[in-house]
């Protein structure tokens, strides 16, 4: 999700995309991570009043991001909740910095609430992937390299937190089963464009 400064609309967003500019009037606020077909993902975020736009930028087989196929929706946040909702209680914290992840404790089997804190100076995300048995994160990321053999990458996306601006935090819930997992940040670096995972934002962990 993106928050748009007052007076800005999705038309401005579209114009900015066409001009490939970098508007300062957009703020990444986080959002539910990747939901596979028939799946569900979640994110809990404190929302301020204002105008937001929900977008999906996953590309299709031709490399066209879904947003370019119309996958965006405006959302207005206005007024107050009838009864104030408290932030959830997390049992695992993921501190995200430039350019690393730090888990507060070992992840175990079961249902967890992860609190994601962006303590860096850039936007970051925490994409949670369960790797196929016997596969490594190198195998997974290698599936994206030019010349990689055709076929799906050896892992499944199981939610996480979409990109959020520095200083922000949010929560996501996940039911964890035994296996090998990795947290990744795919946000491109502000200075050069390399995806943050290439700068070290890769955190593997195994759940017994």
């Amino acid at each position: 999700m993106l928050k748009m400064d007052e007076g800005k609309t999705t038309a401005d967003l579209i114009a900015a995309m066409q001009a490939t500019t970098t508007p300062e009037w957009l703020t990444a606020t986080g959002g539910p991570g990747v939901a596979m077909p028939a799946g569900v993902s979640n994110a809990t975020i404190e929302m301020e009043e204002g105008n937001y736009v929900l977008i999906c930028v996953i590309p299709d087989a031709q490399g066209v991001p879904h947003i370019a196929k119309g996958m965006m929706k405006t959302l207005t946040v206005a007024g107050a909740q009838a009864e104030k909702v408290e932030e959830p209680e997390a049992d695992i914290t993921v501190d995200v910095k430039d350019f690393s992840f730090a888990l507060s404790k070992a992840v175990t089997t079961g249902s967890h609430v992860f609190r994601t804190n962006n303590e860096g100076e850039q936007d970051h995300e925490a994409v949670l992937v369960q790797l196929m048995p016997g596969k490594t994160v190198e195998d997974f990321l290698g599936a994206f390299e030019p010349g990689a053999p055709p076929g799906p990458p050896p892992g499944v996306f199981v939610g996480g937190m979409q990109a959020m601006a520095d200083g922000m935090h949010g929560y996501f819930r996940a039911d964890i089963v035994p296996g090998n997992f990795v947290l990744l940040c795919f946000v491109p670096d502000e200075a050069g464009g390399a995806p943050h995972f290439a700068l070290g934002m890769v955190e593997e962990f195994t759940v017994q």
């Binding site: 539910p32 569900v40 979640n42 991001p65 879904h66 196929k69 119309g70 107050a80 795919f186």
Partner: protein, 120 residues
């Protein structure tokens, strides 16, 4: 900022070599023709790495139990969010859900009713 945000998907999302379909539910939303694919791809792919694998992995591909993001699927026709919860549904390629929610701590759920992976 938009390059950062949209670039999120560049590599990540090159993962999702998937197929296409029709438009969304936002009257201001762009169409495939309103945003040239070439320029969009430039915005979305700041790195030179991303070759798109040919298919999206599924939980079955793990050959083992899969972890899941949890959440209550969105009921159809969700009118809005009144109690700190906002449910959205993604299909190929649009979102459905409330247009307005109150400020405060909000749990968003995204139910994917499409054939492709989606996020929000």
């Amino acid at each position: 900022m938009i390059r950062k945000v949209i670039g999120v998907s560049a590599a990540a999302l090159a993962v999702f070599a998937v197929t296409a379909c029709s438009n969304g539910n936002d009257s201001e939303a762009p169409t495939a023709t309103s945003i040239p694919a070439a320029s969009t791809a430039t915005v979305a792919a700041p790195t030179a790495t991303a070759a798109a694998p040919a298919a999206t992995p599924t939980a079955a591909a793990l050959n083992t139990p899969a972890a899941t993001a949890t959440g209550t699927p969105a009921p159809s026709g969700t009118p809005g969010a009144e109690s700190g919860a906002a449910a959205f549904t993604a299909v190929d390629h649009s979102f459905a859900g409330p247009d307005t929610i109150p400020a405060g701590v909000t749990e968003f759920t995204l139910t994917n009713g499409g054939q492709e992976p989606h996020h929000m």
